[in-house]
Symmetry: C2
Subunit: 126 residues, 2 copies
DNA sequence: TAATAAAATAGTAATCATTACTGATTTGAG
DNA sequence: CTCAAATCAGTAATGATTACTATTTTATTA
């Protein structure tokens, strides 16, 4: 049903080796270093398969692009609206999961993003 | 700098009168009941202006559409992957804000989504 | 190893949500 | 009222994502 694919492995490897929450195009650029003639459509298809399979998550930060993340543990994205960076912080407990369970909703994954201004951008004199 | 606009008021009113997290097109359909000849571009522009102004938030649930919500308070979206519904639950404290502050990040808004299966869809025999 | 069917690919074309553009209309201040 | 800035309706353009197709790769079975 699901065959091994060098391309899919490469896509997953790229995502596992970064904390930068890349877009599909950015993943494509990185994967090309491993498989130079891979096509963008293949990257999109494999990202979708990995997502459907629960191996990666999608992160939307409001910039019009879908971002991808191989870290499927419960964590929160701090997205700076000035420089566009996204860094991770890890809560002790996933409040979303907890509240979901309390109302009879079966939680499978959660994606949290906090928008604001990062430390570096605060220090820059505008 | 920013003039009154009947169209923008109508867009905001539609969003404030629903809990269904509509897409831009769905907002457009509703606003047309108030202003029949409003154009889709106007809806998009006003949604962007309201967002930039902090009056509404964007909610991404992984279906390829941007959803909008006039509830800017800290809350969590429970998105059912079967029926596509999104309902809100309200945490006592916003863990994201708390963690952000602890690392020197200035939080302005947070958007959390938990993906899973809602109570109704659990009861349906597949 | 050879044969075969299912799965996956590269490359390209098509889709469609969203954005940009333009000339006309509306708003708010003096 | 007058004028400039803001906004609009309508339409065209953009561009991220998806779909399609002929070819190649994978996994299985003999």
């Amino acid at each position: 049903m699901k065959n091994f694919s060098r391309q899919r492995e490469a896509v997953l490897k790229v995502l596992k080796n970064t904390k930068s929450h890349p877009t599909a195009t950015q993943v494509y650029e990185q994967v090309k270093k491993i498989i130079p003639n891979i096509s963008l459509g293949t990257v999109y298809r494999n990202l979708a398969e990995l997502y459907d399979n629960g191996e990666i998550i999608k992160v939307s930060v409001g910039d019009g692009f879908e971002h991808f993340d191989a870290d499927t543990s419960s964590h929160i994205h701090l997205h700076c609206k000035k420089c566009g960076s996204t860094v991770d912080v890890y809560p002790d407990t996933d409040i979303g999961y907890k509240l979901a369970s309390e109302v009879g909703f079966i939680p499978e994954r959660s994606v949290c993003t906090v928008y604001g201004i990062c430390k570096k951008c605060q220090q820059k004199h505008s």
